[in-house]
Amino acid sequence: MSKVLQDIWILTENGIVLYHRKFDENLDDQLFGGLMSALNSFAEELIDKGLSNFELQDKRYTLLKKNRMLFIANSAKKVKEKKVIQEMLLIANKFFNLYSEDFLLNWNHNVSVFKNFEKEIKDSLEETIKKFQDAFW
């Protein structure tokens, strides 16, 4: 699961970060969430489907909108976009399996309830590589 994705954000339409898997520690969750949401709103004004990806330095940020939620992930530029979207769809499906539409509608704006999602996407290659880097490489 999630073999190519590094940071992963899950946001509401108005930019509240429900979940963030940190790969790069230097980013502020809520600040980034607001920026992504604003970017996406702006892009929706321009094109129907919204922004799908953009590149910053050596990373590509991919946006996926599903059930009024925004899924954002970054990956190395050279990773194929199709592969990234496949992984993101898997994550989105896992998210909606774990948190039903009813749950999200009645959600009390406490983001800590989404902390369990970490377990669902924990076994990623990126995580393994990070452990190897921390311990050995």
């Binding site: 073999k3 190395a76 050279k78 990773v79 924990k122 076994d123 990623s124 290659l125 995580e127 393994t128 590589i129 452990k131 190897f132 880097q133 921390d134 311990a135 050995f136 490489w137």
Partner: protein
């Protein structure tokens, strides 16, 4: 037979030197990284090295100790505490205890590094198996009974295979999934290391079976086993120590 013991001792001396160099490299890596997983790897290899040292000691005792019941199996076991320890050293039983500890630590290491979490039932089974393997090596012993030795080697081989086959699968999957050349080489090296780790006790087991059916010991498989140890250490070196990544 004494000649073969001597050749075995020289062979094992060389293996110990290589293994010690690798152990020092892991220790240096630990001081650089100060990470729990690096320490686990150090403990794993420390146990493997101690196991090899005891195997080497068995040759030393047989060749140079002058203790007659160690090299002459016709003489009775004096039944002292010292003979209890020495006979278990010469028949590799102490080595098996350290191997069992090393393999058990490898299981913990594998779970931690590949991040799948513990399976409660499997954890209990692996723990029990480690205790049984070490217990069998120490207590189910009869001097000159090669069948018991074969079982002791079999237990170690099965244990090694059960832990290192999943390790191989995870490393190989990671090798296939990553695009980074450095990581690819490292994961492939670890997959190769896992295979050689399994081949080591398999070769010793075959060597023991050959003794059971009347062979003199120190067959080709004995030497192959030690060659596989060298390859496994090389795999570990290229998997853990040599890769340098840019974070």
């Amino acid at each position: 037979m004494a000649d073969l013991q001597f050749v075995g001792m020289v062979f094992e001396t060389f293996i110990i030197l290589v293994a010690l160099i690798f152990l020092v490299l892991i220790l240096m890596k630990y001081y650089e990284k100060k990470h729990q997983l690096t320490f686990y790897l150090f403990l794993i290899f420390l146990n493997y090295v101690i196991a090899i040292v005891f195997s080497w000691l068995s040759k030393i005792f047989v060749l140079y100790s002058g203790i007659d019941y160690l090299y002459n199996t016709i003489l009775p076991d004096p039944g002292t505490l010292l003979s209890w320890i020495l006979l278990r050293i010469t028949d590799f039983r102490i080595s098996f205890v350290f191997l069992s500890i090393g393999i058990y630590l490898s299981y913990i290491f594998k779970v931690k590094i590949f991040g799948k979490g513990y399976n409660k039932v499997l954890r209990i089974i692996v723990t029990l198996y480690a205790i049984i393997t070490a217990g069998f090596a120490l207590f189910v012993y009869q001097r000159g009974n090669t069948l018991y030795d074969v079982f002791a080697f079999l237990f170690i081989f099965v244990f090694m295979a059960v832990i290192y086959i999943p390790f191989f699968i995870e490393s190989f999957k990671s090798y296939k999934d990553t695009d980074n050349k450095v990581f690819k080489t490292a994961f492939l090296s670890l997959a190769i290391m896992a295979i050689f780790f399994i081949l080591v006790p398999l070769s010793f087991l075959i060597d023991r079976i050959l003794i059971l059916v009347g062979g003199p010991g120190f067959s080709l498989f004995y030497f192959l086993a030690w060659i596989f140890v060298i390859f496994a250490i090389l795999g570990a070196y290229f998997g853990y120590i040599s890769p340098k990544s840019e974070k």
